[in-house]
């Protein structure tokens, strides 16, 4: 009788573990950025692309405007795909657009901007990619929307598409 109880207990336990593991399989296994708003690290300073001056990222953020930080590189093909959206955003809307050039050859990045147009109000360089990690980036392109409290309110991983573009416009108009 007791042995039977133990047997049923073990069977039920195994079935329970099986379902827990099955539920675990359904979970998203790829990294997705956290949705909670994080304040921008105020100690991040980067070199400006053209002048070579060191600038604190926080000093470039405009308080009564939405700020957009875009991490890009001239060697990154998806960055070319999203570039027209950035040009449009800068031309048509009041948005402070800051570009962070990621692990790039400086001449190539300058050529990229002179060939395709420069949508950025400021272009900073991250030579070794460590500053982008301090921002929470995993690669290029990535775009962060920052509100007037210097909090990252939205992260776009990968190239911006039409949906993202419209999403940003809606947030600017709010």
């Amino acid at each position: 009788m007791k042995n039977n109880k133990i047997f049923y207990f073990v069977v039920i336990l195994i079935i329970a573990i099986f379902f827990v593991l099955l539920l675990g399989l359904k979970e998203e296994k790829n990294y997705s950025p956290q949705s909670d708003f994080k304040k921008l690290n105020s100690s991040i300073s980067l070199e400006e692309l053209y002048s070579g001056k060191n600038i604190f990222l926080n000093d470039l953020l405009i308080n009564n405007e939405l700020n957009l930080i875009n991490i890009w590189a001239s060697w990154c093909l998806p960055c070319k795909v999203e570039h027209p959206y950035l040009i449009n955003l800068n031309e048509k809307f009041d948005v402070n657009l800051i570009g962070i050039n990621y692990k790039d050859n400086l001449e190539n990045s300058k050529n990229f901007l002179s060939d395709l147009g420069n949508p950025y109000d400021e272009v900073l360089i991250d030579k070794d990619g460590t500053k982008s990690i301090e921002l929470g980036a995993i690669g290029v392109p990535e775009t962060y929307l920052i509100n007037n409290e210097n909090k990252i309110i939205k992260k776009f991983i990968g190239p911006l598409d039409l949906d993202d573009y419209e999403n940003i416009i809606n947030l600017i108009k709010k």
Binding site: I6, V20, Q34, D128, G129, T130, S132, I133, G136, I138
Partner: protein, 121 residues
């Protein structure tokens, strides 16, 4: 002559000491990066990966150690940026209590079963 010998001895001691501290630092970086998940190539740790992300991460950790940050402080910093997902060894909280507790429960249960069987015999 004595002065030259003294200088050589000092230089050798300095070189030996810096070699040891460099080896310690490398060991520390390796230990931390082995517990970090590469978010680009998720089957690999940051230590194993050669992706741009992992290379930058290794450099950032080296800088943080040089600045005097402890292993725990580095994990806290990275968890704040990327969430709990970045570390291979999850901390004990309400979401992971089952994960940490189940092996212990099974171990105790199994142990009790064996003890019971042995004492009955």
């Amino acid at each position: 002559m004595k002065k030259i010998t003294l200088i050589i001895v000092i230089l050798l001691i300095t070189a030996f000491h810096s070699n040891i501290s460099f080896a310690d630092q490398k060991k520390n970086i390796d230990h931390i990066t082995k517990n970090l998940r590469c978010l680009i190539c998720q089957g690999q740790s940051v230590y194993d990966s050669q992706s741009d992300f992992a290379l930058s991460m290794k450099k950032l950790i080296r800088n943080k150690i040089k600045e005097g940050n402890t292993e725990e402080e580095i994990y806290i910093f990275l968890k704040e940026k990327y969430g709990e997902w970045i570390v291979y060894e999850p901390e004990v909280n309400k979401n992971t209590i089952f994960l940490w507790g189940l092996p212990l429960i099974l171990f105790i249960f199994g142990g009790l079963l064996i003890i019971r069987k042995v004492t009955i015999k």
